[in-house]
C-alpha cells in the first residue's frame, strides 16, 4: 500500500504567499463558507472543508429553499457565495441575480445584458454559461456574445465591459473566467466555425487588454519561446504550430479554449486545455495540427507558455482537450511532486508533473476506450508521448466517405467539461463520465466565415456489451492510473462533482437527481429528484453556521441535444434495453436552483 502525503492546494499555499495570486480570491478560497470561483479553489479540486453534512447524516438532507432563474435552457456552472450574498447566473440571456441569504434569498439586484439573439445559433450545443467569478469586490461575467463585464458586487453596476470576440465570425463564449493577480483570463468558443481560438488577459480594474495567446499560429501569436517553452522536456523550436498545418489552414484551425482554468500561485503558472482542430474531417488538414488538443502552462503576467503537451495529435474524433486540470501535491514514486490530473475527452486519465509537463501516468478511465491501445510513455521511443492509434478506428486511415464503426468513446468524450472533484482525505478523484460509442464518417466541407464547418457524420449509442447505460460515476486513483469503484448511470453524468470533508461526494444526473455517495465506497447515501435534468455543478456554502448544498437544474447542453431523443440503438430489432430510452421520458426543460440542508433538529 502506498503511503500518500496529501496537501490540497489553496488555503495552505495561499497563506504562505499572500503577495501572489489575488488576495480577495485567496481569502474567499480559504473560507469554506464561501465559494468565489467556479472551480472552488485555484487548484480546481472542487473540495470543500465543510463537514456538518457528513456520510452518516446526509440521508436526512431536505430542500431548504428554491429559486427559479426564469430561463428554460441548459444550466451549467454553479452559483457563488460571497459573505451573505449568493450570485446566480443563467444561460443566454446571461442574467445575474444577487440574492441576500440573510433575508430569505431576496433579490438585491439583477443584471440583464442586452445581447443580439443571433448569437444563439452560433453557439454549438446550447446557450449554456459556466458561471461567474468574484475578485476585488467585482463579479466577472463572460457573456454568450463574448462581452466580458465587471459588475460591482454590491450594486450590480457595470464597472467596465469589453468585447473579446466577434459572434458574426462564429466567436462565442460559454466558459467562466480566471481572476489572477491584477488580471482576468478568458477563453473563447467557435471550433465548429473555424475560429483561431485564444486566451486573453484583461486588467481586472480597467478591462484593458494586456496580452492574447492563440492556440494555433506563428510563435509571436501563440506566445511561445522556441528555446524555452518545452514539450515533453524538449524546446518546442521555431514555428512549432504552423509547420504542423498545410498552407494557411491554421488561420481557421480552431483549438478553442472553452474549458476551465486552474492556477498554481507557487509556480505562478495557469493551466487549461485547447480544443479540437477544425474541421472534423481529418483528411482536410494533414499534420499534427499543433497546438490543438493540448495542455498549456502559461505565465499569467506575460502569457508566455512554460510548457505544452499535445494529447491527441491530428484529431480524428473531436476529442477536445479542454477538460479541467486538477492541481494537487502528492507523493509519486516516493517523491513529493506537484501534480496535474486531467481526464481527457479521449478517454485517458493523465497525471503530469505540472512544473515540467512530464507525463507520469496515462491510463484509460473507461475500459471500453478503444481508439488507441495506450499512450507511449517510453522516453526512448519515436512515438514518445503519443497515443498509439488503432487503424480500424482511425477515421484518417479509413478515409473520407468511409463510416468508421464502433469507436469508443464517442465525440462527447469519456468525459466532457463537467468537472471532477478530488478529496485529500481519500486521495481519490471523483469523475462524472460518459459511456457512449460512435460511428464517424468524415467528408469534405468548404469554409464560410460565421457558418459551421463540421465535415463529419456521427451516430452515437451506449457502449455495446456493457451495462446498457450511457454513463458512470467513478473514483480514480491518479497515481496508479486505476478505477477504484464505478457506479453505472442510465444517462451520461453531465454534472460537476463536489467532494467534502464530510466524506460525501455529490453529483447530479440528467434525469434530475441530486445524489450523495460515500467517498470511500461509492455507496449511494441520498438522492432527490429536482424539477429538471442537472448539468450544473454541485456547490456548498455556510450561512449563519449552517451548511447548505446547492445545484442548478435545467437540462440541455450537448447532453440535452444528444440524449433528449435517446440514442440510436446499435442492435435495433434485437430488443431495446431500458438504457437506450430517451431522456425526454424522464425530465423536461427547466431553470431552477435547489438548496438543501439538514433539518433543524
Amino acid at each position: 500500500m502506498r503511503a500518500v502525503h496529501l496537501l490540497a492546494l489553496g488555503a495552505g499555499l495561499a497563506a504562505a504567499s499572500p503577495a501572489l495570486a489575488n488576495e480577495s480570491v485567496l481569502k474567499g478560497i480559504a473560507n469554506p463558507a464561501e465559494q468565489v470561483l467556479q472551480t472552488v479553489d485555484y487548484g480546481n479540486t472542487r473540495y470543500s472543508k465543510l463537514d456538518q453534512i457528513n456520510a452518516s447524516n446526509v440521508k436526512n438532507l431536505q430542500v431548504a429553499w428554491t429559486f427559479s432563474t426564469g430561463v428554460l435552457r441548459g444550466h451549467e456552472g454553479a452559483p457563488l457565495v460571497v459573505g451573505n450574498i449568493m450570485y446566480v447566473h443563467t444561460p443566454f440571456p446571461n442574467i445575474v441575480y444577487a440574492l441576500d441569504l440573510d433575508q430569505g434569498a431576496k433579490i438585491v439586484w439583477k443584471y440583464e445584458p442586452k445581447q443580439d439573439p443571433s448569437v444563439i445559433p452560433v453557439m454549438c450545443c446550447d446557450t449554456v454559461n459556466r458561471g461567474l467569478a468574484y475578485a476585488d469586490g467585482a463579479i466577472i461575467l463572460h457573456q454568450a456574445d463574448t462581452t466580458v463585464v465587471s459588475l460591482d458586487a454590491k450594486t450590480g453596476k457595470v464597472n467596465w465591459s469589453v468585447k473579446n470576440g466577434d459572434p458574426s465570425k462564429g466567436e462565442t463564449n460559454t466558459a467562466t473566467v480566471l481572476p489572477v493577480k491584477d488580471k482576468v483570463i478568458v477563453g473563447i468558443s467557435g471550433g465548429e466555425f473555424g475560429v483561431q481560438c485564444h486566451v486573453t488577459a484583461y486588467d481586472l480594474k480597467s478591462g484593458k487588454k494586456v496580452w492574447r495567446g492563440y492556440s494555433i499560429g506563428p510563435d509571436d501569436q501563440i506566445l511561445v519561446d522556441p528555446e524555452k517553452t518545452t514539450s515533453l522536456g524538449k524546446p518546442v523550436g521555431k514555428d512549432s504550430s504552423v509547420k504542423t498545418w498545410e498552407g494557411d489552414q491554421w488561420k481557421t484551425g480552431g483549438g478553442c479554449t472553452w474549458g476551465w482554468f486552474s492556477y498554481d500561485p507557487k509556480l505562478d503558472l495557469f493551466y487549461y486545455g485547447s480544443g479540437n482542430p477544425s474541421t472534423w474531417n481529418p483528411k482536410q488538414r494533414p499534420g499534427d495540427n499543433k497546438w490543438s488538443m493540448t495542455i498549456w502552462a502559461r505565465n499569467p503576467d506575460t502569457g508566455v507558455a512554460k510548457w505544452v503537451y499535445q494529447m491527441t495529435p491530428h484529431d480524428e474524433w473531436d476529442y477536445d482537450g479542454i477538460n479541467e486540470m486538477i492541481l494537487t501535491d502528492q507523493k509519486f514514486d516516493g517523491k513529493d511532486r506537484p501534480l496535474l490530473t486531467h481526464f481527457d475527452r479521449n478517454g485517458f486519465g493523465y497525471t503530469l508533473d505540472r512544473a515540467t509537463g512530464e507525463v507520469l501516468v496515462a491510463e484509460k478511465f473507461d475500459p471500453v476506450v478503444n481508439w488507441a491501445t495506450k499512450v507511449d510513455l517510453d522516453k526512448g521511443s519515436k512515438t514518445y508521448g503519443r497515443p498509439l492509434v488503432v487503424s480500424k478506428y482511425s477515421t484518417e486511415q479509413n478515409g473520407e466517405d468511409v463510416n468508421s464503426k464502433g469507436i469508443c468513446p464517442a465525440a462527447l468524450g469519456t468525459k466532457d467539461q463537467q468537472p471532477a472533484a478530488f478529496s485529500p482525505k481519500t486521495g481519490l478523484f471523483y469523475v462524472p463520465t460518459n459511456h457512449v460509442c460512435m460511428d464517424y464518417e468524415p467528408f469534405r466541407v468548404t469554409y464560410t466565415p460565421g457558418q459551421p464547418y463540421v465535415g463529419a457524420t456521427l451516430s452515437m449509442y451506449p457502449a455495446p456489451g456493457s451495462h446498457g447505460g450511457m454513463g458512470n460515476f467513478i473514483a480514480w486513483d491518479n497515481i496508479q492510473g486505476k478505477i477504484k469503484w464505478s457506479n453505472p448511470e442510465q444517462f451520461s453524468v453531465w454534472s460537476g462533482a463536489l467532494a467534502t470533508a464530510g466524506d460525501v461526494v455529490f453529483y447530479g444526473t440528467l434525469e434530475g437527481y441530486l445524489k450523495a455517495v460515500d467517498s470511500k465506497t461509492g455507496k449511494e447515501l441520498y438522492k432527490f429528484k429536482t424539477p429538471s435534468g442537472i448539468i450544473g455543478n454541485v456547490m456548498t456554502y455556510e450561512n449563519k453556521g449552517k451548511q447548505y448544498i446547492a445545484v442548478l437544474s435545467g437540462v440541455g447542453g450537448w447532453a440535452g441535444i444528444g440524449l433528449a431523443a435517446g440514442l440510436t440503438d446499435p442492435n435495433a430489432g434485437l430488443g431495446a434495453v431500458g438504457g437506450y430510452a430517451a431522456l425526454s421520458s424522464y425530465t423536461n426543460l427547466g431553470g431552477q436552483l435547489t438548496v438543501f440542508s439538514l433539518p433543524n433538529n
Binding site: F92, V555, L567
Partner: protein, 199 residues
C-alpha cells in the same frame, strides 16, 4: 454574397412558382408507375399515411424522385432496406450540419424542434425558405433561433437531399438508422455537387 446564395434564392423562387401553378406540373395519381412505388419495411411502426401518400413519387429523373407537385421525394425499396441516393446523402448531411441542434435522426432536442414532426406540416417551399433564411422565436419562454444557411454551401448544396431524408422520416418510411443499401450516385448528383460547391 455569392453565386451560391443567388442559386439558392432562385431555387426558392422556382419552387414557389412550381407550388403556385401545380396544374402545369401535376401528374395524376393513376399515372404513377408501379416501379416508383415504395416497398417499405412491413414492420415499420411510425407510418404517417397522409404524409406518405403525399410523398408518393410519380417521376424518376435519373435517380431523383419527384412527387405529383414536382417536389423532391424519397424512394425506398427492398422491404425498407434500400434508399435512393438523395435520402442517403440527406442522412449524411443532416448528421453533420443539423443534428447538433435538432438531435439525432430528426428526433429533436432540448434546443430545437423535432424535424421528423415539423416536416409533417411544412411545405417544400416553407422548408426551403427557413433553411435559407433562418427563423427566430425569442420571447419569455423561448429562445429559439435558427441561423440563415443561405450562404453555407455545405448546407444549401444539399437542401433537396435534406428535404428528401427528413420527408422520409416524417412519413415514417425511414426509421432511426443509417441507410445501408442505396441506389448508385446519379451522374446528375455528381455534376450538381461539383458545380454548387465550386470545386
Amino acid at each position: 454574397m455569392s453565386a451560391m446564395k443567388r442559386n439558392a434564392l432562385l431555387g426558392l423562387c422556382g419552387a414557389i412558382l412550381l407550388g403556385a401553378v401545380p396544374v402545369t406540373t401535376a401528374v395524376l395519381a393513376q399515372d404513377a408507375k408501379p416501379e416508383l412505388a415504395n416497398k417499405l419495411d412491413p414492420n415499420a411502426k411510425e407510418i404517417d399515411e397522409p404524409v406518405l401518400k403525399a410523398a408518393a413519387a410519380v417521376k424518376d429523373e435519373d435517380g431523383k424522385y419527384l412527387d405529383k407537385d414536382g417536389h423532391p421525394t424519397f424512394h425506398i425499396t427492398n422491404d425498407g432496406k434500400k434508399v435512393d441516393w438523395y435520402t442517403y446523402s440527406g442522412y449524411r448531411r443532416y448528421h453533420a450540419e443539423c443534428h447538433v441542434c435538432h438531435g439525432p435522426d430528426g428526433m429533436g432536442s432540448t434546443y430545437a424542434p423535432a424535424l421528423k414532426d415539423s416536416l409533417k406540416r411544412l411545405s417544400y417551399e416553407e422548408f426551403y425558405g427557413i433553411l435559407a433564411g433562418g427563423k427566430q422565436e425569442v420571447n419569455n419562454t423561448s429562445n429559439q433561433v435558427m441561423p440563415a444557411f443561405g450562404d453555407n454551401k455545405n448546407v444549401m448544396c444539399y437542401a433537396n437531399d435534406l428535404y428528401v431524408y427528413l420527408r422520409a422520416r416524417a412519413a415514417g418510411a425511414w426509421g432511426r438508422a443509417r441507410p445501408g443499401e442505396k441506389e448508385e450516385k446519379p451522374e446528375a448528383a455528381k455534376t450538381a455537387e461539383k458545380e454548387c460547391l465550386g470545386g
